[in-house]
Amino acid sequence: MSLDTQKLDGSQRQQIMMSVQQQLALQNAQELLQKLSDKCFKACVAKPGSSLSSSEQKCITSCSDRYMDAWHIVSRTYAERIKREQYRH
């Protein structure tokens, strides 16, 4: 589909940009959810039973909080690294 974007008015352009932004945010959230489930299931559920025990639930909750903490630390460190590299060149 070829789109002639010049024929769009200001608010339509805004809409498209917002829509792209939302799709990317959604993609990001899905990626995060997938990682959280993978990591924490592996870390917390050794032998799957007929339901999640309360200790498993507690573990999964902590695990996902810690993963999010780690995500923020990594994100900051990475951003700082990029800034450092930029100033070197």
């Binding site: 589909m1 070829s2 789109l3 002639d4 974007t5 010049q6 352009r13 498209i16 940009m17 792209v20 932004q21 990317l24 993609q27 990001n28 990626e31 995060l32 990682k35 990591k39 924490c40 592996k42 870390a43 917390c44 507690k58 573990c59 999964i60 902590s62 695990c63 810690r66 993963y67 903490d69 780690a70 995500w71 630390i73 990594v74 994100s75 460190t77 990475y78 690294r81 990029i82």
Partner: protein, 84 residues
């Protein structure tokens, strides 16, 4: 949507380029978190908070992983130039 159709639209072109870059950076953060969570927290689910040791490990992990990538990239280029 054909990106070629954006050739006459510098504003949208810039927007798409920015979003692509952002996306790449975010993907890299996901990957780094994946690797460093395993390395530093040893897949430990039950921590009530991250200690300063854990934080330092995560920070080092990011920097060392990127150093590793740089080293490998340079080495690979070297090999290609040497015709191996």
């Amino acid at each position: 949507m054909s990106l070629a159709s954006l050739a006459n639209d510098p504003e949208l072109q810039k927007f798409v380029a920015e979003k692509e870059l952002e996306n790449q950076l975010t993907a890299q953060v996901h990957h780094l978190t994946n690797v460093c969570f395993d390395k530093c927290l040893e897949s430990n689910g039950n921590l009530s908070e991250l200690s300063s040791r854990h934080t330092a490990c995560l920070q080092n992990c990011v920097d060392r992983f990127l150093d590793c990538t740089t080293l490998i990239t340079n080495r690979t280029i070297q090999r290609i130039q040497q015709g191996r």
